[in-house]
């Protein structure tokens, strides 16, 4: 092939990939909602994308575009910058990390784009509204559940706990950790014997847990800061034949076949705590912002968690 043919081929390819967007002006006003998602690879994020897509499609007059930052701060900053140039009617950002996204979200607000900060906070209030759940409260719920289970097991609050930690420095990780430790601090018999970091990822958690199991002969509870990590740890324990003696507790409680609620039904997890997807609230508030110029959202919305155990898992599974 000649050089010119390669060039033409490249041009055709680019044209094809850009041309996938339907052109032409729709008859009625169509709103552009841009969603900067930090990492599609996490099941929690995938569930967010699916629910938000469904809710906004139901509205009928909204076009949603989602950009996946693939857990890379620099990539997400660039994607938000590009969104700002497109002047969407609403910008939703689920920040990968707090420090990195603060400044660029300030630019979005300066550009007068209504901006929803979703689920993770940033260093300055550079948003129209911040919709999140209370990870500290979830941490406390999980901690109390673990303490209660240990009391049930030994008659007194004692035992060895392993914490599988998410991506360090992220609000969810900090508070799911701190909330549980607040509770553990009241029970001197409860020891945290290991706190490996698995960055929310199931495969990493399996590896980290294998190492912990080799080093610690006695483990009563595994507290995973999300369900996939708790499941990863379970798989490691199962492989070494030690899953029976350990109570696995997770957080997130997603619905669907791959979600944490199903894992509770299957007996893999002893309990999980629903971490609200937040996008249902974001869709509700976002649509109000789009449709009602008089509407001024609160600066912050905090959503509550639900504990999922074998007792209520089947009911919740049907609902979600």
């Amino acid at each position: 092939m000649k050089r010119i043919e390669y060039t033409v081929l490249a041009a055709a390819l680019l044209a094809a990939s850009c041309g996938t967007q339907p052109g032409g002006q729709p008859s009625q006003r169509q709103y552009l909602v841009a969603f900067s998602q930090c990492n599609n690879a996490e099941p929690y994020r995938a569930a967010q994308n699916a629910l938000l897509t469904r809710l906004l499609a139901a509205a009928g007059d909204v076009k949603l575009v989602i950009a996946d930052a693939q857990q890379d701060n620099a990539r997400q900053v660039a994607q938000v910058e590009t969104f700002i140039r497109q002047k969407p009617d609403l910008l939703i950002v689920a920040p990968n990390e707090r420090a990195a996204l603060t400044a660029v979200m300030g630019q979005a607000v300066e550009a007068r784009i209504p901006t929803i900060c979703l689920e993770r906070d940033i260093l300055q209030p550079n948003y129209t509204t911040y919709i999140h759940s209370d990870n500290r409260a979830i941490g406390r719920l999980a901690g109390q559940f673990i303490a209660d289970q240990l009391i049930k097991k030994y008659g007194t609050a004692k035992g060895n706990v392993v914490q599988m930690r998410g991506l360090l420095g992220v609000e969810g990780e900090i508070n799911r950790d701190a909330g549980a430790k607040e509770v553990f601090a009241r029970y001197p018999g409860i020891h945290i014997v290991a706190e490996p970091v698995a960055d929310w990822i199931q495969a990493k958690a399996k590896d980290r847990m294998t190492e912990v199991l080799r080093a610690s002969p006695s483990i009563d509870v595994l507290y995973g800061h999300n369900d996939p990590m708790a499941v990863g740890a379970y798989l490691a324990a199962k492989e070494l034949g030690r899953d029976q003696g350990i109570l696995f507790v997770g957080v997130d409680g997603l619905g669907g076949e791959a979600g944490g609620i199903k894992k509770v039904m299957d007996g893999v997890l002893g309990a999980t705590f629903v971490y609200p997807l937040c996008v249902d609230k974001a869709a509700e508030i976002g649509l109000k912002i789009l449709h009602d110029p008089q509407f001024h959202p609160e600066k912050e919305y905090t959503l509550e968690s639900t504990m999922v155990t074998a007792a209520n898992a089947a009911d919740l599974f049907k609902k979600l």
């Binding site: 050089r3 620099a74 900053v77």
Partner: protein
């Protein structure tokens, strides 16, 4: 080089053609804000790719640049946040940046020394340091990010200063000129090109091959460290996990720009054109809201086509 420039021009043209329009009917791609966004977004990879071009010219490769960058972000943020209260801001910034650059250049020079004296292939040496230096960055920081706030302390001042587009893009431009002139017009530049062209001949002519290699890898470390300093300001954090796979982006930029991995062939202008090409393609796809997974596939094809076009040109 001519082929790369034609390619760049073609992609810019396509980006203009396919650019969505703003509310006032103008093309978003051509907005000054968007164009400078692109420059800032490619600046870090671009800076690394400058020294990578030197490395590739000597028939080498440097896989450790992303890890060195991460180490530099860690050192910069740690020094800044640990500055004694009484120290002046300028002095504290100079010390922090100096420490990061020193460590980075040192790591790079160590790569070069092992390659030159132990005679191990650059791929293997820098693969090892890619792993080891990443480990060092994680160990230093206990694998946590060191956040920089928005207050009045020295770290916040540093970020607000080095975060600015003009500083980042300006630094890339100045470094590009320096590296371009040094390669084309200096004795050192001639040595770099001669070694990759034919190392045996260069040795017989008595060129200081070892010291040139140490310098080249040292410069690669230095520029990666500088990219790390800019990353720290831009992202308000020292991040031991930053820069993963950046080495591949830097190599891709040089290769699209006409650098030959076997050495001896490549220019700074070509590398800059290659860097911009990646930046414009990315921006074009994002402005059109193309799925980011498709973005990766498109980039892959662009790389192969760009290199194929050059190969064709070389054969003609």
């Amino acid at each position: 080089l001519k082929g790369t420039l034609i390619g760049l021009a073609g992609i810019v043209l396509l980006a203009i053609l396919f650019s969505p329009r703003a509310a006032d009917g103008s093309r978003i791609f051509l907005q000054p804000g968007n164009l400078t966004d692109i420059l800032r977004q490619v600046a870090l990879i671009g800076i690394m790719a400058l020294a990578m071009t030197y490395v590739i010219l000597t028939a080498g490769i440097d896989l450790s640049v992303g890890s060195i960058m991460a180490l530099a972000t860690a050192v910069t943020a740690m020094r800044l946040t640990a500055s004694p209260a009484g120290m002046g801001h300028v002095q504290a910034m100079v010390l922090a940046i100096g420490a990061a650059l020193l460590v980075s250049a040192g790591a790079g020079a160590l790569n070069g020394a092992v390659i030159a004296f132990v005679d191990v292939q650059p791929f293997i040496v820098t693969l090892a340091s890619m792993i080891g230096i990443r480990g060092l960055a994680k160990w230093l920081t206990h694998n946590t990010n060191i956040d920089i706030g928005f207050g009045q302390d020295v770290a916040a001042h540093f970020a607000s200063l080095f975060w600015q587009k003009a500083v980042v893009v300006g630094a890339f431009a100045v470094l590009a000129v320096i590296f371009g002139v040094a390669l084309a017009r200096t004795v050192f530049g001639r040595y770099v090109r001669a070694i990759g062209d034919n190392e045996k001949a260069a040795r017989y002519t008595g060129l200081p091959i070892r010291s040139v290699k140490i310098w080249v890898y040292g410069l690669s470390g230095l520029l990666s460290g500088f990219a790390g300093v800019l990353y720290t300001a831009e992202n308000h954090q020292g991040n031991p996990n930053a820069g993963v796979a950046y080495e591949l982006d830097a190599i891709a930029a040089a290769v699209i720009g006409g650098a030959r991995l076997a050495g001896g062939k490549g220019t700074i202008a070509g590398t800059i054109a290659g860097t911009l090409m990646i930046g414009v393609v990315t921006n074009m796809l994002r402005l059109n809201n193309v799925d980011s997974n498709v973005e990766m596939m498109v980039k892959a094809v662009i790389i192969v086509l760009a290199v194929a076009a050059q190969r064709q040109r070389g054969a003609e």
